[in-house]
């Protein structure tokens, strides 16, 4: 096991270097000298001495006046010490802005991920258990529809139907907390935040849920068709026992790796969902940074989310090797 772990950890290094090199070359290859593409809103800022100095600092951060390899090495060093430079928008350190928004996005995604697994595993099992029943057919249709629904449309429709407008007014329009003056007891605050998070979480969850439940069903049916299941049935075990003891555990294996493939999608999806519901997380930060060409912020988010994804894939791989010994045995050979 430890040998597999070490090998897997070492493999991360070239991947990380590759990711950071691509990220870095995006700044280098941007058409023109990108520091001259100063935020469109800050036209008058351009002439001030302070802005000139900020631009100079940015050129230094990315080593733009140096050969690419040196610039890259230096930039990488700064990334590793979490020095992402200064945001062009408000002049605050990028790391501070990210420290504010990252927890919100992580919380949203973790909640949604947990919900996805909690709902879709039983839903998929029931479908496979009652294959071709009315439930199975109905849920197949519903899941297929959910799977094809564009999340930004669902988000807008939820707002349209449930947050004011001509219809119901149950949920707040956006943000993560109400604007109430004065101190609020923590349980009220918590309730308020949860209330604000309902619609974003629903929008973030339904797609992954539809995908995973369909996958779970197909996967379980695949396992059931294996010979050892037939053997278990032939020696007289009941359907339920075979399903839950023999089939279920084996069908869980691919679900572990799926987590890794859902992860990058969730971060991308946050951009859309957070901008619809005005949730002040990484997605909204990224969206606003891209709109105002706040390159230090864009670069920091690109690096961080790539590293997070890398970690997610690593965790999934290690878990995979825990549940399926064949993987690490193969790696040993």
């Amino acid at each position: 096991m430890s040998r597999y772990l070490i090998k897997r950890l070492l493999l991360i290094i070239p991947t990380f270097l590759g990711i950071s090199l691509i990220t870095y070359s995006m700044v280098r290859l941007a058409p023109g000298d990108y520091t001259s593409l100063r935020a469109t809103g800050g036209g008058e800022l351009k002439t001030t001495a302070a802005a000139k100095q900020a631009m100079e600092e940015e050129r230094k951060l990315y080593g733009l006046d140096r050969p690419i390899m040196f610039g890259y090495a230096e930039w990488l060093g700064k990334m590793l010490t979490l020095d992402f430079g200064i945001s062009r928008k408000d002049g605050r350190p990028v790391s501070a802005r990210i420290a504010e928004s990252l927890p919100i996005t992580l919380a949203l995604n973790v909640i949604s991920m947990v919900l996805v697994y909690i709902i879709s595993i039983p839903a998929g099992i029931l479908s496979a258990l009652w294959k071709d029943s009315l439930y199975d057919r109905a849920s197949s249709v519903v899941l297929f529809i959910l799977y094809s629904l564009p999340s930004f449309w669902v988000g807008l429709l939820l707002l349209l139907l449930l947050s004011g407008g001509e219809f119901l007014n149950i949920f707040p329009l956006g943000g993560i907390v109400s604007d109430v003056p004065g101190p609020v007891p923590w349980w009220r605050l918590a309730g308020d935040v949860i209330w604000h998070l309902v619609l974003p979480v629903v929008t973030l969850t339904y797609g992954g849920f539809a995908f995973l439940a369909r996958y779970m069903r197909a996967n379980l049916l695949e396992v059931i068709s294996q010979q050892y299941i037939t053997t278990a049935r032939a020696k007289g075990l009941g359907v339920r026992r075979v399903l839950f003891i023999h089939a279920f555990r084996n069908s869980l294996v691919p679900l572990v790796t799926l987590m890794a493939s859902i992860l990058p999608g969730l971060l991308g999806g946050s951009v859309i969902i957070e901008s619809i519901f005005s949730v002040p997380g990484m997605g909204l930060l990224a969206y606003e940074a891209i709109l105002s060409r706040d390159i230090p912020v864009i670069m920091a988010i690109a690096s961080i989310s790539a590293v997070l994804t890398l970690v997610g894939i690593l965790v999934a791989d290690v878990m995979y090797s825990v549940v399926d010994p064949r993987i690490r045995l193969e790696a040993k050979v």
């Binding site: 070239p14 991947t15 590759g18 990711i19 691509i22 995006m26 941007a30 058409p31 990108y34 297929f144 529809i145 799977y147 094809s148 629904l149 564009p150 930004f152 449309w153 807008l156 429709l157 707002l159 349209l160 004011g164 407008g165 001509e166 197909a218 049916l221 695949e222 068709s225 990058p264 999608g265 971060l267 991308g268 999806g269 951009v271 859309i272 901008s275 990224a286 969206y287 891209i290 709109l291 060409r293 864009i298 988010i301 690109a302 989310s305 790539a306 994804t309 890398l310 894939i313």
Partner: protein, 329 residues
């Protein structure tokens, strides 16, 4: 070759058994028709206009003598045959802004009084173009890269696999947004950026197929006969590994259309005045509290389109993999 033709015929026979997939294919066909003939379906000029002296075909030709006159006006007498939707996609009318669907405007109008139906019909062109061209770009890259890795194996395979792993780690949607922010949003850039970020799935499939195929006797035989690598790869191995690639490409079109509309929704896609479904949906956000048609209709079109491609993809998948097909029934 005839064996191969027999294979595809079989796939089609299997595919035809799946009614939902056939329905999806029909929707795709209709969308194609609408995209190709959009200017003939929604246009402010008539197909035919017969005045006292002669016949005009304003939709097909320009007539300087007709000038800018609006032939829809009641004052102009003569025989006129208009397209089903007698509005162009860019024509604004400030007297009829944000109108709900009615006899005059089947799907209502937007904030500049433009006919929503005309804009939806012309928007079909963008989604189909981006869907097919971007997927074509990344399928080509994926086949080239995957075939190389699978055919040569060893060191080449190691390097390619590592590159694939690196590209997968990037949150694709965010990468696309960042690149578009740097190169500037436009129809061509959207297609190229989606094309160069989306190839990893195809490359993995092709690599896997080629790793299997290169041990086959016919490939070994071709090699020992001294056939060039390129011929073995493209003429002998590729046709035998194409089916899963095409299935994946069909699903790819669905997700590319989704990405394009998300990009346009965020304002990084196709730029106005070219109508795009995502952009129309995004415009609706300012009038969301009362103009339900502006939210409902574009989203519904996107949904139906994605569903149709997904249904075709599923039918296709079941058709090339009869074992899975049987277990599904």
């Amino acid at each position: 070759m005839s064996a191969l033709r027999g294979y595809w015929l079989n796939v089609w026979i299997q595919f035809k058994k799946n009614r939902l997939a056939l329905g999806g294919l029909a929707v795709v066909g209709v969308l194609f028709f609408v995209a190709v003939f959009a200017p003939l379906i929604a246009n402010d000029r008539p197909y035919v206009y017969v005045s006292e002296s002669r016949a005009y075909f304003p939709i097909f030709f320009n007539y300087p003598e007709l000038g800018d006159i609006d032939l829809r006006s009641e004052k102009i007498k003569g025989f006129k045959l208009f397209p089903p939707i007698a509005y162009s996609y860019s024509e604004y009318d400030l007297d009829s802004i944000v109108l709900p669907p009615s006899g005059a405007h089947w799907l209502g109008t937007d904030e500049q009084g433009r006919d929503l139906a005309a804009r939806m019909i012309h928007g079909t062109r963008v989604s189909i173009m981006v869907g097919f061209i971007a997927v074509f770009i990344y399928v080509s890259i994926g086949i080239a890269v995957g075939a190389m890795a699978g055919y040569y194996g060893g060191m080449v395979d190691m390097i390619v696999s590592r590159i694939i792993e690196i590209v997968i780690c990037f949150p694709t949607f965010f990468l696309i947004l960042t690149m578009l922010a740097l190169v500037g949003p436009s129809l061509v850039n959207v297609m190229v950026v989606i094309g160069i970020t989306g190839w990893t799935g195809i490359a993995r499939i092709v690599r896997g197929e080629f790793l299997k195929l290169r041990e086959m006797e016919y490939v070994q035989a071709s090699r020992s006969l001294g056939v060039r690598d390129a011929v073995i790869i493209f003429r002998h191995m590729l046709p035998n590994s194409l089916a899963p690639v095409l299935v994946s490409a069909t699903f790819g079109i669905a997700s590319t259309i989704l990405i394009e509309s998300s990009l346009s929704f965020l304002g990084f896609g196709v730029q106005p005045p070219t109508p795009s479904w995502g952009d129309i949906l995004s415009q609706s956000r300012d009038f969301m509290d009362f103009a339900w048609w502006l939210t409902l209709i574009p989203g519904f079109f996107i949904f139906i389109t994605i569903t149709a491609y997904n249904l075709v993809g599923e039918g296709f998948q079941d058709a090339i993999n009869p074992r899975a097909f049987r277990s599904k029934r």
